[in-house]
């Protein structure tokens, strides 16, 4: 009796264990054993969903001896255990980056400072692939390596790596310490197979017979323009994005420049002369369709009648939640003007300037007031993330007669409620609205880049599970479609989920769009052990599970999809391994 009293006092009077969600199970019979579930750690593990999945395992940064691994989903047992989450040892590429030796000049064996970028497409459709960027130092040590890179080994079904070496010193303005490597050597690109444990590589920059571009940058009056940064942009392969593919030069008082082009370029290049950032306002000069396989001379001519720099200050305003007009703090304002057309094969001048609205919503930008440009300005405004004010894109801005201050359009509120799989409101879910692929790929290249750079609207659900997100109903005349991403709190028994392509109704009078309740699917708890090649558990490795993208009709339905139609695989679950190497994830059923 006395002992019973003591136990009762001890248990009932003292224990103040914080309350949390009740355990899902105590014994396996509390779980869906018919479908293989077992109870462990208070959780019903197992009964994984069917479907095609891929896994990416990333080692912690402290394990330099391991590299990320992509693979199709190993089998998941009915009790939720994933097999074979094994990381691999890298193929280590070591070597030096030197100038090509061109007799009769003495060979310079000093290692050259560069940036090396290594990429490889994903082994599964829409996967993240492999990307690595590293800086290499210059060194006068003639024996040791100047770079040391660890890559996942190239397997039988893997594509080779693409390695791009870009000499350092590509600043907007010339270095005060003489010529940089970027002024001496063009970038190089090559393919690399990493099948061996260790690879030695000598990368040589420059060459005897590389095509060159020479010429001058001149004002409309014929005088040289100094301190302009001149470079050629081109493609390493057809359809690839434009990147810098030449040496960099900075014009002197005579405006002269000399560039060396990289070897193996696809198609013509674009010559670009950018004015110094510290100088007076001026447009960047472009010349298109310059052949990349032969040397040539070009003159970039600044247009006439640009006028002088004039600072324009104006407020950026919008209607806030209370219905009053207020300044939009933090709004990014960009003004551009384009003179000429690429089709004319003459110099095209593009002026661009940016500023951010201050605490009161005021912004100051410096423009050119000449008759040749003052009627050509176009305006973009992007308000801060989750603002109730919307974007402006490609709006004409005349220096006189424009209706300033700018009044931003009001965004529309996407309202809804997040429920768990039993229909109960779900608290603590991070909800993010982002433009859908259908919406983004409906634009041309420039507005597509603009739409992609708009900060996503995000919020957190309260106890009621409700959310409201501010989105632009239209951009550049197109009605919006948005994906909603739901990310429940860590350790919650709910999966991450995306509802795709919610269409904004074509009704410009509405301020709110209510969408149906979002009922997250049930979560299947699964787990696995991350091991190194020696079979030792790895702590703090991250495991990500992607649902493989199914080829759909989207790319044939939109106006401007990227050439490769890179529909990203949907990330379904991610988790980090604990001290025992065990990673626990949830997948939507």
């Amino acid at each position: 009796m006395k002992r019973a009293l003591l136990i009762a006092v001890t248990l009932a009077g003292c224990l103040d264990v914080p309350s949390g969600p009740p355990q899902e199970c105590v014994k396996s019979s509390d779980c869906d054993t018919a479908n293989g579930e077992v109870c462990d750690e208070g959780t019903c593990y197992g009964n994984p969903p069917r479907g095609q999945y891929a896994v990416v395992i990333s080692p912690p940064s402290s394990r330099k001896d391991l590299v990320p691994r992509e693979m199709t989903m190993p089998s998941i047992a009915s009790d939720g255990w994933i097999q074979d989450l094994a990381l691999e040892r890298p193929s280590v590429i070591k070597g030096r980056i030197e100038a090509m030796c061109l007799p009769p000049a003495a060979c310079n064996r000093t290692a050259i400072a560069t940036t090396i970028t290594v990429t490889r497409p994903s082994s599964f459709k829409g996967g993240p692939g492999f990307k690595l960027v590293t800086d290499t130092d210059d060194t006068r040590d003639l024996t040791g390596p100047s770079f040391d890179i660890a890559l996942p080994k190239t397997g039988a079904n893997d594509q080779n790596y693409v390695v791009t070496v870009v000499p350092a010193g590509r600043n907007d303005e010339p270095s005060g310490n003489g010529e940089t490597p970027a002024q001496l050597y063009p970038p190089v690109r090559f393919s690399l197979s990493a099948r061996e444990n260790s690879i030695q590589k000598l990368i040589q920059l420059g060459g005897a017979n590389l095509p060159t571009l020479s010429g001058s940058v001149k004002s409309s009056a014929g005088g040289g323009l100094s301190q302009y940064r001149v470079v050629a942009m081109g493609r390493w392969e057809p359809g690839a994005p434009l990147t810098e593919v030449s040496t960099v030069d900075y014009t002197a008082a005579d405006g002269m420049f000399h560039l060396v082009l990289a070897e193996g370029l696809a198609g013509p290049v674009e010559l670009i002369a950018k004015p110094p950032t510290s100088g007076t306002a001026a447009p960047t000069l472009h010349m298109f369709d310059v052949p990349s396989n032969t040397s040539s001379q070009r003159t970039l001519l600044q247009p006439a009648n640009l006028g002088t720099a004039k600072t324009l200050s104006f407020p950026v305003k919008g209607v806030d939640g209370s219905g009053s007009i207020a300044g939009v703090r933090g709004a990014r304002v960009k003004v551009t003007a384009t003179l000429g057309s690429p089709a004319t094969s003459q110099t095209v001048a593009r002026f661009a300037t940016e500023a951010t609205a201050d605490d009161t919503g005021n912004v100051s930008i410096t423009l050119l007031d000449g008759s040749g440009i003052s009627t050509l300005y176009r305006l973009e405004v992007v308000p801060p993330a989750s603002s109730s004010m919307g974007v402006l894109y490609d709006v004409p801005l005349a220096l006189s007669g424009t209706a300033l201050p700018l009044l931003l359009p009001t965004r529309i509120a996407l309202r809804g409620k997040v429920l768990d799989h039993e229909g109960q409101p779900l608290e603590g879910v991070s909800v993010t609205a982002r433009p859908s692929l259908r919406f983004t790929w409906s634009f041309d290249d420039d507005p597509q880049a603009f739409v992609s750079s708009i900060p996503a609207s995000t919020t957190l659900t309260p106890e009621t599970g409700e959310f409201a997100l501010w989105v632009d109903p239209t951009i550049d005349g197109l009605w919006g479609h948005y994906d909603l991403a739901f990310d429940p709190a860590s350790k919650a028994r709910a999966p991450s989920w995306v509802t795709n392509d919610i269409e904004i109704p074509r009704d410009s009078s509405q301020t709110t769009v209510s969408i149906d309740d979002i009922r997250l699917p049930d979560a299947a708890a699964i787990r696995g052990t991350v091991l190194d090649p020696a079979g030792v558990e790895v702590e703090a490795a991250e495991v990500k599970i992607f649902r493989l993208a199914t080829p759909g009709a989207l790319c044939s339905e939109v106006l401007n999809p990227p050439l490769s139609c890179p529909i990203p695989a949907v990330l379904q679950g991610r988790g980090a391994s604990d001290a025992a190497g065990i990673v626990r994830l949830t997948l939507p059923r």
């Binding site: 003591l6 990307k131 960027v133 990014r332 957190l460 890179p566």
Partner: protein, 206 residues
């Protein structure tokens, strides 16, 4: 084959000499044992009530005004492919193939919501608003460690490959609409932590 260890059934001399047995029949022991009801029973009760019972630390320290706030910590920042290492450089795709940036965060104030902001080229004299924002609610059930996934799509600006100065800041109070430093001011008592990377942006590679 290596033999498994097994229980040793032999009786060692040392163990035999120290074998536990009742001493209750001894006079001295009787006196002590008799005092159990007088001395030990109240002591046990008191100790059970005050010192002996398990009182786990409250999990809501940070939500109370008088609680001591502790700063959040960033344990890891990862893309879909690899972990970022300060100061980089790190490489992110521009636009729709940028994927997500996940962060593993630690905060011993278990009830704190953590606010993540990613800035490019932010300086106090020329502050730029965050390009990426995301929020990490308190884990359920409560735990000091949590993860948050942020959409990396808007991180890279529409043009330029960088390197940009990227600062990842985690706040334990929601940043204010006004105040200094701009876009990073918090209510009194708020704490933050940050990491810095050189960010390079590239066009989608696939």
């Amino acid at each position: 084959m290596t033999q498994m260890s097994e229980p040793d059934g032999t009786t060692h001399l040392e163990n035999a000499r120290n074998r536990a047995e009742s001493q209750g029949r001894l006079p001295l022991a009787h006196r002590v044992h008799d005092a159990w009801g007088v001395v030990y029973r109240p002591l046990l009760l008191v100790s059970a009530l005050l010192g002996g019972c398990v009182i786990p630390p409250s999990l809501s320290v940070g939500s109370e005004d008088a609680g001591v706030n502790s700063p959040p910590a960033i344990l890891a920042v990862r893309t879909d492919q690899a972990e970022f290492v300060e100061p980089g450089p790190v490489l992110v795709d521009r636009g729709t193939t940028a994927g997500t940036i996940s962060m593993t965060l630690l905060d011993t104030d278990l009830a704190d919501t953590l606010y993540v902001r990613m800035f490019l080229d932010y300086t106090v004299t020329a502050p730029n608003p965050a390009r990426v924002t995301c929020t990490a609610p308190p884990p359920m059930p409560a735990s000091p460690q949590r993860t948050v996934s942020c959409d990396a799509g808007p991180l890279c600006p529409p043009t330029g490959s960088g390197p940009f100065n990227m600062t990842v800041v985690v706040f334990d109070r929601e940043p204010l609409e006004s105040g200094t430093p701009a876009y990073q001011a918090m209510p009194p008592g708020g704490l933050k932590t940050s990491l810095f990377y050189f960010l390079k942006c590239q066009e989608p590679t696939q």
